[in-house]
Symmetry: C2
Subunit: 423 residues, 2 copies
């Protein structure tokens, strides 16, 4: 269960209500016309899970139980969502399979990661929506060469699964060598693709209960389209209306398990909203991600006494289902710290969260809180759906195209030119 | 060697030059009067290294070579700097000792980390400037209880080293049980303490060549106080003068090795500058940290087409001294990606960096580049000194007290109250 405590949206009059309805209808139209596909992903995901199960029964290495490592080769939208869910649920899964990520073309990190795996017990997922992401294809080629793979040999082709758009270059390569592929729907952008095969395949392969996650996400999206999640529209309204006053949106998550969820949020928020609007203005909102209580000792001072240009959303987990306590040890000279003795770390973390939240509110900084009753597949599913819908709503209100990233292409073109000049 | 390419500071007239000189003198006065102590840390660090060597010869466990794990228990300024340096240099050290961090009071993470260590081969560093940081003391108590340590026994007291202010509660506890302690100078704040025992002790214990780092940092600080690093003053002038126009400062580091350096920067920048100025205004600059090339696929779109409220500093490493290449494999349908074949990952990463930097400049976003010739102790030492000095200069110009964090206390007081009400 996830509950949303919102304090900061302004009164919405009749005109405002009409506006929210219009935005809601716009999203509905995106969905009904199939212009935007992420709304349908959770529903269709069950098929992907089944397809993956069939595949595992057919692939020699999965069949004989030799696969101990899954390596995701993918960057940005092809890895962030998977990392977010994995980091959140990792500790409670039953599988012992390791999940590795190769994303950056950092020579040190690539070497370090590959040193840890043995090709004999490893399956590689090559993930690229376009099929030609330069980081991903470069690392893919490096893997082929390092492990002397010959894709025309069934035994080597079986070491790979591709996840990409239908008919992309990578998809055609898969066809050429009969490599298993899963496709990303054309109407789903990379940063909205975690609930497609992009997330489902790696997460399922390392023992995350993806089905539960999908069902919860689907339920939440359905509820939104039944006009029952008006809080999202209201929150989006606040962000959009006051985008100039509060250009920075802090996500302050109280648990290290959210480290990558935070980063997923940064991509979703930053890349979806930061662009020219229909009038040619530079618009957008800047995401900042923090982990509590750690970042109380880092960024909180700035929030409280720095410029009042930030909103804050705090995420709290009510019950971690871990009972570890601060023991009732009274150390000489440290008596001042004894007030937490006999309380659980869970309590300490949550009371720090509450104290921070209240302090932020008292300093007149717009803040809301999202409370998860526990760490669960359902809850992360809801959180993902919530943030995706919120992003779409804000984007509609800011009059930007939420789903493209035109500026990223600029750098890519320049890169090609640089190498063409060198060669 | 570190070189600094600055493009964005405005012309500085006669009045401006006088102002910069005044700021320089103010820093010099901080140093000479010993009001601010971090300027002297590198020079004094050599003594700490020697003291640590002596200690290792005396402590039973170090003497008999049984210590395989070092656990840092500390949060914020007590861990971030160490993490930054460790992550940067880790892969090139010779020691096989593992370094663990316990900072967050997250019940899942504490459990996971402690599961991996064995008390028989572990030494614990309890680090807290004030001596009563609640996260640190709580985890410390948990460790005592979990491993059944009795501090009054020499054999158990020897498992610990404390790093804290002289005469703090923790320091007195150390005296009580003859636990080894290193002290942080009173005039050095937590986020400026990485070159004190706070960083020197854990880093030396896991085989980082700290001496080289300190000498380079000292050289850079000396050079600054010889008025030879005017670029720092000029850059600070730009940031301060245009703080309202460019309230967000992005650090875009091209290598995953900078992940924690980036976070160290966030604390230093955010917590030092975000506060009420002498006139009672809310001032400050918001730090954002990115890793390239990964975050080209996440945040870059926002930088390029979002609101023009950001400056960007790009960090590049010229030569990683790793020759791994993208092999010359031509895959059918992927011909488009062959332009990088036969080039090293080092080249690819750097050309991505260059392409991004140029794109940013072409979009009229103030940007500069810092180039490290390689990954080395010297270079990270210079980077640390550079950012600390820059922070002090900006703080002087914004008329804030760079070295305190008054707002953080608000939440702390509230926390104590919460528990007092429960108990």
């Amino acid at each position: 269960m996830v509950s949303f405590e919102q304090n900061f949206y302004p009164k919405i009059g009749k005109v405002g209500k009409g506006f929210l309805r219009k935005i809601f209808e716009a999203l509905k139209e995106e969905k009904d016309s199939k212009k935007v596909g992420y709304y349908e992903l959770p529903k269709n995901g069950i098929k992907t899970i089944k397809e993956l199960e069939t595949y595992q029964r057919e692939n020699t290495y999965f069949k004989n139980g030799s696969i101990k490592n899954i390596v995701v080769v993918g960057i940005g939208g092809s890895s962030l969502g998977t990392k977010a869910v994995y980091e959140f649920l990792r500790y409670k899964r039953k599988s012992k399979r390791q999940l590795y990520f190769l994303e950056n073309v950092d020579p040190i990190i690539i070497g370090e990661t590959l040193k840890r795996i043995d090709k004999k017990n490893t399956h590689f997922l090559i993930i690229s929506k376009s099929g030609t992401t330069i980081e991903t294809t470069s690392i893919f080629k490096y893997i082929i060469s390092k492990y002397c793979f010959d894709l025309s040999q069934k035994k080597d082709a079986n070491r790979f699964t591709f996840i990409t758009d239908k008919n992309s270059s990578l998809s055609k390569l898969a066809d050429e060598y009969s490599i298993k592929q899963f496709n990303i729907p054309k109407n789903v952008g990379g940063r909205f693709s975690v609930l497609s095969a992009v997330g489902i395949v790696p997460l399922s392969l390392v023992g995350i209960e993806v089905k539960e996650l999908l069902i919860a996400a689907e339920g939440f999206i359905d509820s939104f389209f039944e006009f029952k999640e008006k809080k999202i529209l209201k929150k989006a309204y606040f962000y959009s209306k006051l985008a100039k006053k509060y250009p920075i949106n802090v996500l302050f998550s109280y648990s290290s398990l959210f480290s990558y969820f935070n980063q997923w949020y940064v991509q979703l928020w930053g890349e979806s909203l930061g662009k020219w609007d229909k009038l040619g203005n530079n618009v957008g909102l800047t995401p900042v991600h923090l982990v509590g209580s750690v970042d109380q000792h880092s960024f909180l001072q700035l929030i409280l006494q720095g410029p009042k240009d930030k909103t804050v959303t705090v995420i709290k987990v009510k019950d971690f289902k871990k009972r570890a306590k601060i023991p009732d040890i009274k150390l000489k000279y440290l008596e001042k710290t004894d007030y937490v003795n006999n309380h659980s770390f869970n309590e300490l973390l949550n009371e720090e969260c509450n104290a921070t939240y209240e302090t932020i509110l008292e300093n007149n900084i717009p803040a809301d809180m999202i409370v998860l009753d526990k760490i669960s597949e359902q809850n992360i599913g809801i959180l993902i759906a919530y943030y995706e819908l919120l992003t779409s709503c804000v984007g509609q209100m800011l009059m930007v195209n939420v789903y493209n990233q035109p500026a990223v292409e600029l750098g890519k073109k320049k890169l090609v030119k640089k190498f063409t000049n060198i060669n």
